[in-house]
């Protein structure tokens, strides 16, 4: 396990290959467009402005307060969805040819695809800071917590990608099952609605047990209030550790078997 961890750190350290792979995937996604990944940011901002306007009226909330809440939550949710969706196809479709014809450690492929999503997320985070400056709610401490969050979220995303990609390669039904689960999680997670709208009992059952919520809330409270709640911080930290240890175990046990599962 320690060797596997050293291996993981080595792959992270040799950033040239996974960065090239991430940039290549991103380039192809926005091929022949002038704005490139800015389209993603522009599209999401437009959508959230419209949703924010209507929902703030529906829930009788101030748009200036509601829009940042919606924006900060939605961009993390969007990244989670993108990471999970790509993880379900990573070994079985996206890098099938590569795994069949050259030995490359699965972590390299996972880091590459997560890095691609994080490049877009960083664009969104720059927008988030602009929103904070515009609404005069900027806390300097936020920056430190956002950096801590990004680090933990990056490690979690890589580990989750490896776990899901391996699972979906072995059991092909999982890809479809995960898509169904994701859409359910969206409705149960306070991304576009506020957790305080629930009663205390419901909040404990539906929200506090939802790990995705803690990731979103860590980021959102860091930006909105300058720091996350201790509970959010601990859940994210412990989840990251559990995901990392599980992915190291799976990598040690199954990384050499992936090619056989492709046949």
């Amino acid at each position: 396990m320690i060797n596997e961890f050293k291996n993981f750190l080595n792959i992270l350290n040799n950033h040239e290959l996974w960065l090239t792979m991430a940039r290549s995937k991103l380039r192809i996604r926005y091929l022949r467009t002038k704005l490139g990944p800015i389209w993603e940011i522009f599209g999401t901002c437009t959508l959230l402005l419209c949703i924010g306007f209507i929902w703030s009226k529906l829930w009788k909330e101030d748009f200036i307060n509601f829009f940042p809440y919606l924006f900060f939550g939605y961009i993390i949710w969007k990244t989670i969805v993108s990471v999970v969706n790509e993880a379900t196809m990573l070994f079985s479709e996206i890098y099938k040819n590569l795994l069949e014809n050259v030995y490359i450690h699965p972590f390299t492929l996972c880091i590459g695809i997560v890095c691609k999503n994080f490049i877009v997320l960083i664009g969104f985070i720059i927008c988030s800071f602009l929103i904070l400056i515009f609404t005069k709610k900027f806390f300097l401490l936020s920056t430190i917590f956002v950096i801590i969050f990004l680090f933990l979220f990056f490690i979690s995303a890589i580990s989750l990608t490896l776990l899901l990609a391996t699972l979906c390669l072995k059991f092909r039904d999982m890809q479809h099952a995960i898509n169904v689960i994701l859409s359910l999680v969206f409705f149960f997670t306070p991304v576009i609605w506020n957790a305080n709208q629930l009663s205390e009992v419901n909040k404990k059952i539906l929200v506090d047990t939802n790990i995705v919520y803690h990731y979103i809330e860590f980021f959102r409270s860091s930006l909105l209030f300058g720091h996350p709640e201790t509970k959010n911080f601990l859940v994210v930290l412990i989840s990251t550790l559990i995901l990392l240890i599980s992915s190291l175990y799976v990598s040690k046990k199954f990384s050499r078997k992936l090619t056989l599962w492709l046949i």
Partner: protein, 260 residues
């Protein structure tokens, strides 16, 4: 000794095409939980058992520095599988021994992992990095590679606009201009035009004389021209290892036997 293979065996399972849910998997495990105390009928269904294939059986050979080994055999004899085992893509069975001294480069369908819509230059950088070469080293040698394969003017074209032959030239140039100690090549050297093939063979003979190459090919001409040793495979078993001429006679005997 550059490459040593001892008692190499490979068995791999063939996953049935049916759904995981239908197999002894989620649903049955779930139902079994509730049927814990009930008497179970024992069903024996041989189709449920995972089929296994003995793709390679007891392969043994040793290559010295500069050896060029030709791998020959009929379709399904295990040539590509052996190359994949040497390259670390497939994990052989316990007890198998593969020793490779120095760096190595597997050239097995490299065109398949290119990004078709990206430019030729970006693909050059991506493929070379996947092969394990450092970014700066690849960047420094990019012009040399594009010049050698006569594709300098196409460097900003999408990779998919290149013909099969042009793609072959690019991959060939990446592999042999950025050097490695050992090469494992699958059905690769026969794709380009004759002019480039001659240029390529000249490069390999002059610059790669120290490199150990394992080449898998159906072309006896290429094997004769290129290899000093031969390994004949038949249904995953090693039939012959040694001199090229005798090996080709043995391979022809297998072909004739099959024709009868």
């Amino acid at each position: 000794m550059k490459i040593k293979v001892e008692e190499l065996n490979l068995t791999y399972p063939i996953t049935p095409g049916e759904s995981f849910l239908k197999k002894k998997g989620l649903i049955e495990t779930f139902i079994d939980k509730f049927k814990k105390n009930k008497k179970k009928k024992i069903k024996i269904n041989p189709e449920n058992k995972h089929a296994k294939i003995n793709a390679l059986k007891n392969i043994n050979f040793q290559l010295e520095e500069g050896d060029k080994l030709g791998l020959v055999g009929l379709n399904g004899s295990g040539k590509s599988t052996l190359l994949k085992c040497l390259s670390g893509i497939l994990d052989p069975d316990l007890g198998s021994k593969i020793i490779i001294n120095g760096s190595y480069l597997p050239i097995i369908n490299p065109i398949n992992f290119s990004e078709q819509e990206d430019t030729v230059l970006n693909n050059l950088i991506l493929i070379a990095q996947i092969f394990g070469f450092k970014f700066n080293y690849v960047k420094e040698n990019a012009d040399l590679i594009l010049n050698f394969c006569e594709l300098t003017e196409y460097s900003n074209y999408p990779f998919q606009t290149l013909s099969t032959g042009m793609r072959f030239k690019l991959i060939f140039s990446i592999c042999f201009l950025l050097k490695r100690d050992n090469y494992f090549i699958d059905e690769f050297l026969t794709t380009g035009d004759e002019k480039f093939q001659n240029k390529g063979f000249k490069l390999i003979n002059e610059e790669m004389s120290d490199s150990t190459i394992v080449l898998c090919s159906h072309s006896q001409e290429i094997i004769k021209k290129f290899c000093n040793k031969i390994l004949v495979l038949n249904k995953g078993e090693q039939v012959f290892f040694g001199n090229t001429q005798k090996g080709l006679e043995c391979f022809n005997a297998i072909i004739n036997n099959n024709l009868k």
